[in-house]
């Protein structure tokens, strides 16, 4: 049985340690996702903590949930939407999202050249439509499967495929542009990307 499913079974029986374990496993990625939507880490912490509170309150009904991971994301997503709507009457959907903030990537190496390149890539991705950014972030940073992203975003696996391909294309463009500025050998380029300290 998958680990998350095991935790859910334990939560269902009222095991507080299991709730703790579930947070250890899932809180980081839910925080990144929520921060991407509401753009405040403080607020994201509040929202994600509420997600787990809901899980605990609903623990008797958890057996009805087939995909725990997607479920956690969807509760979090809805709470973010709730926060983003300007009035109580207004309903918000994924299409109304103006922006999705991509978490900054870090390399262990402190070369300025490298930071510069990451900055360039980040700018390139940042110019993408919010849904495309969100799909990319969920696949790359959260490491979710296409199927899970499809559940969370309510779009087809095919569309996700296109979104991520588009993001990669832009990243490569940014890389090539940079290569033109300072023509490094491909080895140098790769070493920059991988943050080598050989």
């Amino acid at each position: 049985m998958p680990l998350l499913q095991q935790m859910v079974l334990r939560i269902q029986s009222g095991d507080e340690q299991a709730l703790h374990d579930l947070m250890q496993e899932m809180a980081d990625e839910l925080l990144l996702f929520a921060t991407g939507l509401v753009k405040s880490s403080k607020l994201a912490e509040e929202i994600v903590s509420d997600t787990f509170v809901k899980i605990w309150h609903k623990k008797r009904k958890l057996h009805e949930i087939r995909d725990v991971k997607s479920y956690l994301y969807i509760i979090t997503r809805n709470a973010c939407f709730n926060h983003l709507r300007s009035s109580k009457e207004e309903l918000i959907s994924l299409d109304d999202i103006q922006d999705f903030q991509l978490p900054a990537m870090h390399s262990s190496d402190r070369e300025s050249f490298q930071e510069e390149m990451l900055e360039l890539i980040h700018q390139a991705i940042d110019s993408l439509p919010p849904k495309c950014k969100m799909a990319f972030s969920l696949a790359k940073i959260q490491g979710l499967r296409y199927k899970e992203i499809s559940n969370i975003m309510g779009i087809s696996v095919n569309t996700i495929n296109n979104h991520i391909a588009k993001a990669l294309e832009l990243i490569l463009e940014a890389l090539n542009e940079h290569k033109d500025l300072t023509p490094p050998s491909s080895k140098k380029l790769l070493s920059i990307m991988l943050g080598i300290t050989l």
Partner: protein, 326 residues
């Protein structure tokens, strides 16, 4: 290959979504032009960059328990994964304990765990000594009471068992049980290694297949029992008694060992992540002996025998045989 397809193929490859057919067509694409290989390499470099960890998670845990009015459990960190594994293991062998003990007392378990890079020496209540290798868990009923001395292992340990002819000492893992009266032996049962093994240094042991009671082998010193993932029967083969407990002294010895297996051992010892970039490397085998070398030194020594590149990014090491364009 249609040009516009290329990025979708890269995407599926990086997101681990590709099936065998897609693997083949990606291979075909990459062999067409060096350019594509360069592209994918650059992209995977970016893809593998790690997101910096925050301490927000900790605050979420605190907040949630506060909101629920519950006390926060004591256990923290990644320990829980092995904790869960331990529970599963306990369940799978619970029947055996019950049959072996037949006591009405509830079982209080004593547990010991090691993190990556740690080796812990543990004295058991019967006078036996256990050396617990990195990232391993061992647990046993308090006082080792009962008709048998049952211990449960997830990971690797070397046992020096005190003699007690009336009370057999049994090491339970999810795949095999090792039964002894008094002896020195090693059991390795990491669930990500794809095999479980028991190697005997001294004395005599009986090794049982946990899934099949009639399948067992008896070992004499210098022999080992092996049960590989997906295999149904125990295999008996030879081992070098000097190598069995080398890890206890911090030495790492490999005898004709494949690079993926070596990588897993090194990951546990050094708490690092080692990624093999191309499948060809999985065929590499080494015989080597290391003592005080750092992970970087070990990798560059392995690198002398076969030519590959080592890229380091924080705690992540990427090994690649792909040649660079000059």
């Amino acid at each position: 290959m249609r040009e516009k397809n290329r990025f979708e193929q890269y995407a599926r490859y990086l997101a681990n979504e590709n099936n065998t057919n897609e693997d083949k067509s990606l291979e075909a694409l990459l062999s067409q032009d060096k350019k594509y290989l360069e592209e994918l390499k650059a992209l995977s470099g970016y893809w593998n960059l790690v997101q910096q960890k925050s301490n927000s998670k900790h605050r979420v845990v605190k907040k949630t328990f506060a909101k629920l009015g519950l006390n926060q459990p004591r256990k923290i960190g990644s320990v829980f994964i092995r904790y869960a594994a331990a529970i599963a293991l306990l369940l799978s062998v619970a029947v055996n304990i019950y049959l072996g003990q037949r006591t009405n007392d509830s079982l209080e378990m004593v547990e010991a765990q090691t993190a990556s890079g740690e080796v812990e020496e543990i004295k058991l209540p019967d006078g036996s000594t256990v050396w617990l290798n990195s990232m391993s868990t061992i647990f046993y009923p308090k006082g080792l009471q009962g008709k048998q001395r049952n211990v449960f292992l997830d990971g690797e340990a070397f046992f020096e068992v005190a003699k007690d002819a009336r009370k057999p000492f049994i090491v339970h893992t999810s795949e095999m049980q090792v039964e002894v009266l008094g002896t020195r032996f090693n059991v390795s049962s990491y669930n990500n290694d794809g095999y479980t093994s028991a190697s005997l240094e001294e004395g005599r042991v009986k090794v049982y297949n946990a899934k099949n009671d009639v399948d067992f082998v008896e070992l004499v010193p210098g022999q080992k029992a092996l049960l590989a993932e997906g295999q149904e029967k125990l295999l008996r083969s030879v081992c070098n008694t000097k190598d069995i407990s080398a890890w206890k002294e911090g030495r790492i010895r490999f005898y004709n060992t494949s690079l993926p297996q070596i990588a897993k051992k090194l990951e546990r010892k050094f708490g690092a992540t080692i990624i093999l970039m191309d499948p060809e490397m999985e065929k590499l085998r080494y015989t080597a002996d290391f003592e005080d070398e750092s992970l970087g030194e070990i990798l560059s020594l392995l690198n002398i025998a076969y030519d590959f590149q080592v890229y380091k990014n924080g705690n992540r090491y990427i090994l690649s045989t792909l040649k660079e364009q000059q």
